[in-house]
């Protein structure tokens, strides 16, 4: 299963970006193999609809779940339609967020 985390900058510091569409980097975590892959968010500078563009991008990357700070209503709706689970985290580091996900401590966001 591929799970996408949103990271700040180029992602090498492993810091979670609380924003989804405006995060610079997506970390794709493979829960079976433990592999991690960093992918730049090409829609980060979109004038409008960055969240929707990001939703499209992570679905194309094969994501089944997303871990981010807050996801906007439009992106949340789109991801729900695509069958991607969205989890909100307060953690600042990827390691903590991953641990929280594993422990089942993260809240799943639902579209209104």
């Amino acid at each position: 299963m591929k799970i996408v985390f949103t990271l700040k900058g180029d992602g090498r510091d492993g810091l979670v970006d609380r924003r989804f569409g405006r995060a610079e980097t997506f970390l794709i975590y493979n829960s079976e193999t433990g592999d991690r892959q960093l992918v730049a968010n090409s829609g980060v500078d979109a004038a409008m609809g960055a969240g929707l563009k990001a939703a499209e991008a992570i679905v194309a990357l094969g994501a089944v779940a997303l871990v981010t700070g807050e996801c906007g209503v439009k992106a949340l709706h789109a991801l729900h339609r695509a069958g991607v689970k969205v989890y909100s985290t307060d953690s600042t580091s990827f390691d903590d967020a991953l641990e929280d996900l594993r422990q089942g401590n993260l809240r799943e966001a639902q579209p209104a």
């Binding site: 409008m48 929707l52 439009k74 339609r81």
Partner: protein, 278 residues
């Protein structure tokens, strides 16, 4: 003559100046309330709603059975109002600007259009003048189409547009086509800061403008200093008079309740007229 009244900062007195100028200008003027997210000129210029019309935008409807999932419309839309996870695209009306491009690029002819209501325009026949009021529907994010429709509905030779606060698209949409812009400001650091931003917008747009200082106090030369430095005309100062605040808070016109101020508002109107005809 088309005059726009703007400020950048909210609460500086745009509406105060707009309604009193319109009232003193008389029956020949049409005041357009372009602050469509919070129109309040009607509080001062009272009258029955004589007519109203819905403002809408043409937005796409995708016929699922015809869509081939080719993504041509998704690639075309610069505002990301259409996205696709492989099948029929999802449409997000809030991001749509109504350009109709998606329909044109659809080879499968799977896109038709429907009208999405964005707000309404009301014509109010007040005793003093005609008021056209734009009102944005709840949940609609861009006020621009409603502002444009309200302005387009204003006929006549003399139009005053009351702008929304801010310096982005809604302001620009209000200012377009104006012969002269009155910038209402207040002698505070916030007033000055937003005045600077608005002046930048006006200069980029190549518009003629002047400043009205509201709640003017002798002890502050903040705005005067800035205007002198930038060679900007100061057309008038409205004093920091408690009676003005009380009259305004009661929803009444200054030019009616405090006739001593009529010459001041008349002089602002005359100053605009001189600059437009010059």
């Amino acid at each position: 003559m088309r005059i726009a009244i703007a400020s950048g900062k909210g609460g500086t007195g745009k509406t105060l100046v707009a309604v009193n100028l319109a009232a003193i200008a008389g029956r020949s003027v049409t005041l357009v309330d372009c602050d469509v997210e919070e129109p309040n000129d009607h509080i001062f210029l009272k009258g029955d709603v004589a007519a109203s019309e819905t403002v809408s935008m043409r937005v796409p409807v995708i016929v699922e059975s015809r869509c081939t999932g080719c993504r041509a419309c998704v690639e075309f839309c610069s505002y990301n109002a259409l996205i696709s996870f492989g099948g029929t695209p999802l449409f997000f009306p809030d991001l749509c600007h109504g350009c109709g491009g998606c329909r044109l690029v659809c080879r499968a002819r799977a896109i038709s259009e429907t009208a999405r209501p964005l707000g309404e325009i009301r014509r109010i026949d007040a005793a003093q003048c005609t008021l056209l009021e734009g009102r944005l529907a709840v949940g609609v994010s861009s006020p621009v189409p409603v502002i444009q429709a309200a302005k387009a509905a204003a006929g006549g030779e003399f139009v005053i547009c009351d702008a929304p606060p801010g310096t982005s698209c809604p302001l620009v949409a209000t200012l377009r086509g104006a012969d002269y812009v009155l910038l209402v400001t207040e002698p505070t650091p916030f007033g000055l800061s937003d005045l600077r931003l608005t002046v930048e917008v006006l200069r980029r747009m190549g518009m003629a403008f002047g400043v009205v200082i509201n709640r003017a106090v002798r002890s502050s030369s903040l705005i005067d200093d800035y205007c002198r430095q930038e060679a900007i005309d100061i057309l008038a100062e409205i004093p920091d008079d408690r009676r003005i605040a009380e009259t305004y808070a009661a929803g009444r016109l200054i030019v009616e309740a405090l006739p001593g101020y009529r010459p001041l508002f008349r002089s602002i109107l005359e100053a605009c007229r001189e600059r437009v005809t010059a």
